[in-house]
């Protein structure tokens, strides 16, 4: 491996064909040319509103969907249909809903052991069992619970099972798709801390997809903001939060309710007008222009590209804010 990056995504596109008439098919452009890269052991946060394509990016990356276009490189090697099964030993996923992503008819032991069965990562039953117990301990589950079923656990514990399953093949990269949003506030912190500890211990890199911007800022080294299938801003977590450049990021951050009454009273909230346009009929040029207060003629005609604003901070806008 001689590249700096663990995962490189280049111009990834994912269109879903939708039947809109008898023979007419319109493409729903869920992801429309997304590029980013992740270093080993790094966390990239991916934020955006529902329908912006953040989950699709995560799933397409692992080939749960067949991408329409673009390239994904893992350790410099292109991910194709041929090598994806092999590569899933190195890239795994934690799903959003801990209630529906675990098979109710399997015991915890079998859920965690399944990836190892698929990739034949043990020599005998004893080794399998030992590995499973080690994983359960790693994510803070009691070894006595190995023979129980998923429904016997609370949401936080189920998410731990899901994480243990992802870790079973000893991956270098995990896509975390809204892993804490289904959990209660007090349990969220437990799971977020566990993600951080596991990263320190095992050196895994995360693509952390979430809509809770405070949690994402907390856990991420870098952050990418998506709007209607495209990344509009990407950079260092603190840099993006302290000095957002794209008008969408600015209003998104100003809309986040802060649990601090004094700060809230001082704050100027920029409320965006209207709703997100349908991804079936994207506006021409910059997709954000229909809700942007700085929008001009140029925004309607030409699509802005990510431009470097210094310190590895990129934003795609014709009227960059300072």
């Amino acid at each position: 491996m001689n590249t700096e990056y663990l995962v490189e995504v280049k111009e990834l596109k994912q269109y879903f064909p939708i039947h809109t008439g008898f023979r007419k098919v319109t493409n729903l452009k869920a992801v429309d040319g997304v590029s980013f890269s992740i270093r080993p052991g790094e966390t990239l946060g991916l934020v955006g509103e529902s329908g912006c394509g953040k989950t699709t990016v995560g799933r397409t990356l692992l080939r749960l969907y067949q991408p329409t276009g673009g390239q994904v490189l893992f350790e410099g090697e292109e991910v194709t249909d041929k090598n994806i099964l092999e590569l899933r030993k190195k890239m795994q996923m934690v799903f959003q809903d801990p209630y529906s992503s675990l098979d109710p008819r399997m015991t915890v032991e079998d859920i965690i052991g399944e990836p190892m069965d698929v990739h034949r990562l043990y020599k005998n039953r004893a080794e399998r069992r030992e590995k499973i117990l080690r994983l359960m301990e790693l994510v803070g589950l009691n070894a006595e619970h190995a023979t129980r079923y998923a429904h016997e656990f609370s949401g936080g514990q189920r998410q731990r099972i899901g994480i243990a399953r992802a870790l079973a093949v000893n991956p270098k990269f995990i896509v975390c798709d809204e892993p804490v949003s289904a959990l209660d506030v007090s349990i969220q912190a437990q799971v977020v801390n566990m993600f951080e500890d596991l990263q320190k211990k095992l050196g895994v890199a995360y693509l952390f997809i979430a809509h809770d911007l405070l949690i994402v800022r907390h856990i991420s080294d870098r952050i990418a903001v998506m709007y209607l299938g495209r990344i509009v801003e990407i950079g260092d977590a603190d840099e993006v939060y302290e000095h957002p450049k794209h008008p969408y990021t600015i209003s998104l951050l100003s809309a986040v309710p802060i649990p601090d009454p004094r700060l809230t009273r001082q704050r100027q909230r920029i409320v965006l007008e209207g709703d997100v346009p349908s991804p079936m009929h994207l506006p021409s040029g910059c997709a954000f222009r229909t809700r942007c207060r700085y929008a001009t003629e140029k925004c309607a005609q030409e699509r802005p590209v990510l431009a470097d604003t210094g310190n590895g901070h990129f934003a795609a806008c014709w009227h960059l804010q300072s």
Binding site: E49, S50, S154, G156, Q157, D184, V185, S186, I187, Q188, A189, Q190, V192, N193, E196, H211, L213, L214, I215, R217, H218, A237, D238, Y241, S251, L252, S254, A255, V256, P257, I258, P259, D260, P261, R262, L263, T264, R269, V271, L272, D275, V276
Partner: protein
């Protein structure tokens, strides 16, 4: 007596239980609070803390297995738990309205928006069809729905989540209730839409002057909106006070834990301190403080006896033995 009553709503020692096959689930255990006209009160807590059940008990819209077993709810000085069905029907919508969490499922999919809006207006006022329609259009305009006359003919599926929540608010406010209960009104919505809805609610509150009970688990929303806050855990109130009391001087270990477990704007990279354990099982309530099994500072007395509510300042009350201990040691004054 109803005219000179200071409080719009007074809840006294409310107990609500659900009688299930596996036993009595005590969802609300002795909750008391009062609400002045035009006040915005927040109820925060985790799932299962009894915050929604408290709100539903006020409206008496509990599931079939649920019942108010003790306590009373006074609306303008009258105990509404004694009211009969017919009188309660008049109360709902006209005196007190509710907005539910999920705008996707709380509107009837087979009726138009206009039909559903006008139903509420015609039930509670003596307006005729055309007057009700005019009122519906006026309400939709008020909540910022564009082209209201055309929207009346639309079905819920034709609208986005934010728009549907606006329709819900319009419906709740159409008869100018004195109290609006908002049960997690923005949880299902995106951040930018959430900001729009919160802004709208604040604006309408100023314009129409109703009191709002805001039920949520989002401490950010609470900090933004509320004059006073109630923190609930395991069916009881553990702390109450103004926003500043709760956020800057929390005096119950659960409130402190909650605040430590979320990343704040100022210390985003600091490690979170989670509350250990998992929420309590309401079927199996401990004898003492409900929070003591998860509390780092639990003492012997916490296990044995329920703490009483202690007034710390005129606006700030907490039910925690730690305060009693500090008081005895002379560290704080009541």
């Amino acid at each position: 007596m109803s005219e000179n009553c200071e409080y719009m709503l007074e809840v006294k020692n409310l107990h609500t239980s659900f009688f299930t096959d596996s036993g009595e689930v005590k969802a609300v255990n002795g909750v008391s609070f009062d609400l002045k006209p035009g006040e915005i009160m927040g109820i925060v807590g985790e799932s299962g803390s009894g915050k929604s059940v408290t709100a539903y008990s006020v409206m008496q819209i509990l599931a079939d297995t649920g019942r108010i077993v003790e306590g009373s709810v006074f609306y303008k000085g009258e105990d509404i738990t004694r009211w009969d069905k017919r009188r309660m029907q008049k109360f709902r919508g006209k005196c007190c309205s509710i907005i539910f969490q999920d705008p996707m499922t709380s509107l009837n999919p087979v009726f138009t928006i206009g039909n559903q809006l006008m139903e509420a207006i015609r039930l509670h006022t003596d307006k005729n069809r055309s007057q009700a329609k005019a009122r519906a259009i006026e309400m939709l305009e008020l909540v910022g729905v564009n082209e209201p006359a055309r929207r009346l003919k639309q079905y819920p599926y034709e609208m986005s989540g934010g728009m549907r929540q606006r329709v819900m608010i319009a419906m709740a406010l159409a008869c100018e209730p004195d109290i609006l209960i908002a049960d997690e009104p923005t949880t299902a919505l995106d951040v930018t839409i959430q900001a729009q809805i919160l802004e709208l609610m604040q604006e309408l509150q100023k314009k129409m002057g109703m009191a709002i009970i805001m039920v949520t688990h989002d401490l950010g929303v609470i900090a933004d909106m509320c004059d006073k806050i109630i923190v609930m855990y395991g069916g009881s109130i553990c702390e109450r006070g103004t926003a500043d009391d709760i956020f800057y001087d929390p005096r119950h270990e659960y409130t402190k834990g909650l605040l430590r477990s979320i990343p704040s704007a100022t210390n985003s990279k600091e490690r979170l301190v989670p509350i250990s354990g998992s929420p309590i099982n309401l079927l199996n309530m401990p004898k003492g403080c409900a929070f003591c099994s998860r509390c780092d500072h639990a003492m012997k007395i916490c296990i044995e006896e329920k703490p009483q509510e202690l007034t710390l300042t005129p606006t700030h009350q907490a039910s925690c033995w730690m305060n009693v201990k500090k008081l005895q040691e002379g560290q704080v004054r009541p």
